[in-house]
Amino acid sequence: MRAPSERDVAAGEILLAVENVSLSFGGVRAITDVSFDIRKGEIRAIIGPNGAGKTSMLNVINGFYTPQQGRITFKGETRNKMRPYEAARGGIARTFQNVALFRGMTALDNIMAGRALKMHRGLFWQLLRHGPALKEEVEHRRKVEEIIDFLEIPHIRRIPVGRLPYGLQKRVELGRALAMEPDLLLLDEPMAGMNLEEKEDMSRFVIDVNNHFGTTIALIEHDMGVVMDLSDRVLVLEYGRKIADGAPDVVKKNQAVIDAYLGVAH
């Protein structure tokens, strides 16, 4: 894992920049001309009412959707189209709104799966189970165990994920994303459907990940309390457009944001 880096968001260099991105599905405009950036080491929240285009935006960032217009600059490299595996290899990991784990596999194996991209030995060596592949696997396992320890889930290591309660599944999913040692971690509603205690736990892990590994995090979240506490900057979308962007307490006072959430005749 990367050595903890000094956290200096204000002056931080830009890790990812989105410029004038527009995305539509046929006639439906999901995102219209949105620009924003994510600085290295920050926790960046994306909020907005239902259907505002938040998840679409994440999908654009990690290359799952290809925007019709606009450019994305990640780690200094500009492109208008990124493939998911390029994103993954480039250091973008994500979790999903609905848990997307291998339900029949153990928590440990699920997190190990997150290391797949880091395995360099081919199928031949892996089948042999000796020599360099084994050595590599031991090394990966050590990293995975660090994550298990970090997320405080050693007791569920050998339990098939399908049998775990939802809150723990979410944690395993976070573990799998962390196993990729990402530079940018995208969390799609990490606290959805959780009770208060689980939310507090998850919030603490998000902060710890950010602090300890120095990972830049972009998250979508509906719980305003959580968003305001966690994030350094907040981007607000409504109907696919950016209506506000800035520090939490600034955004909170923004009239457009208040209107969007309380509902105003358009």
Binding site: P4, R141, R142, E145, E146, I148, D149, F150, E152, P154, H155, R157, R158, D208, N211, H212
Partner: protein
Amino acid sequence: MALNATAQADTFPKLLIRNATVHRDRTAVRHKDLGIWQSWTWAQVLEQVRAFSIGLDALGLARGDKVAIIGSNRPRLYWAMCAAQALGAVPVPIYADSVADEMAYVLEHAEVKIAVVEDQEQVDKILSISERLPRLTHVLYDEPRGLRDYDHARLQWIDAVQNEGRQRLANDPGAEERWHEQIAAGRGSDLAIILYTSGTTGQPKGVMLSYDNVIISAQNGNAFDALGPDEEVIAYLPLAWVGDHIFSYAQSYAAGFCVNCPESPETVVEDRREIGTTYAFAPPRIYENLLTLTMVRMEDASRLKRRMFHAFIDHAKRWGEKILDGEKVPLGARLLYALGEVLVYGPLKNRYGLSRIRVAYTAGEAIGPEIFRFYRSLGVNLKQLYGQTEASVYITAQPDGEIHADTVGKANIDVDIKIAENGEVLFKSPGVFLGYYKEPEKTAEAKTPDGWVRTGDAGFFDPATGHLKIIDRAKDVGRLNDGTLFAPKYIENKLKFYPNIKEAVAFGDRRDFVTVMLNIDLVAVSSWAERNNVVYGSYQELAGHPLVYAMIEEHVAEVNRSLAAEPVMAGAQIRRFLILHKELDADDGELTRTQKVRRGFIAERYAPLVRALYDGSDAADISTEVTFEDGRKGVLAARVTIRDMAPAPVPMERAA
């Protein structure tokens, strides 16, 4: 030879140095970390403790200073104890789940100078109360996670302290020598540790134990069960509990056996299974939980497996304990038991991590006889032990082969026991505590002038087995007017053993005879009612039903028969009983929040019923105010029937 070695090694640091020579390359400690068991030999532990100790010295820790130890069972917290003791300082373990305020009391009272804690959680607690602790100079932590950005003026990572110690050892040739001199200056009669007992009332009291107390008790415990350096134990009980201190620290140092620290509190069962402990200690609830888990899992198993399980468990119930105790058992039963061992008992014990167990203890509170027998029938040598902090644990224990579910065994090696006039158990032993820290009046209350310690428990020696039976807290024990001992809880527990009886409240102190009020268990009795075609409309109706009375009367008669078999108790048989028309409830103040009956309060609240129990009437009217779930209050009126019981005859040979 052993005597010679121990004669010199009368403190833990001395024992450590002995072990580092005698058991040099033997594993002393294991800790599962990042999924792998890390281990340290005795020689390595000595190196760790030495570095830690000299690091503590550098922080200014001196003879007589107190060091708080707060956290779960981790090697470095155990090492902190020995490292402090090497300097003549006194470790004070504190329950890790205490809230900051409770912690503040102990830290203040013990005048703690350095706190060695597990992680951020504990650091936060201490920092939140630090203005109340002017004497506290340093807080050391084991797990650095989350603490990077904290102000490190008074805060240090244990690693840093150890490194400081190692540096000093490297730079100063005399440092090691001086450290050994410090250890040599320690005496067996010195204060070794202060353990705060939680205490049900008032503030916790600091029990001071000397090295002699703890080490001689541990050696006697080892001798009692022939424990040697090959044992494996798992340390998972609170550090601040005397049980853990003796089992995971003192006995390990005395015998040289290996202590295994689990990965986290949630993984204990799995970790125990990986280690295969040979010596175990647990309060009854641990055994209960394992059993419940098994039963629940079996419900989900396939029908074949379930039938096999139950068939063999029934067989084990019949023969298992006899085989374990070395009694005569027919060959057929033995063979079937051997088959069961392969198919059911072995795999079950493996699940529990008890495959290699030689000695397992349960203590702390009474264990249900059913649960106790279940484990014994599987071939687990589960035994009961009776002890307390003031005795450095050991008062009595059950010797191998002399196991009775309802006794706590015989006096341990070197322990003398006597029963006082009022039935209270008194003891004298090498483990008798020095006193309560800074509370001489309380010490004087607990110790008699001639050196006996009051346990606060009432009990008697069972004439048939010679084993001690604990019946109740001494303050709850009273006497009937004719002088017979009356132990309410003993009688109540016998009654509550029947699933149909949920609660029982016994009266008899300064009365002519014993009476009880009973609560039926709605779940058990309603299913009984269904099977016996008893029709009822409400709890009250069911409780007053003549057939229910008849069934309960049988239970009471059985309890009387069992009381009659015990000479001390025979005079305290139940003469009259009634079944209450409502369930006793904590919301009405009749039970404590921990579901214990509040006898005095109940006697007041149901005064007309108590009067009727003693004035010979066969029914009584009662109306009580009740609190409903939603907080509303109402009045419940009823006519409660009272039944007379004929006392069971006392068996002649016992009465003689």
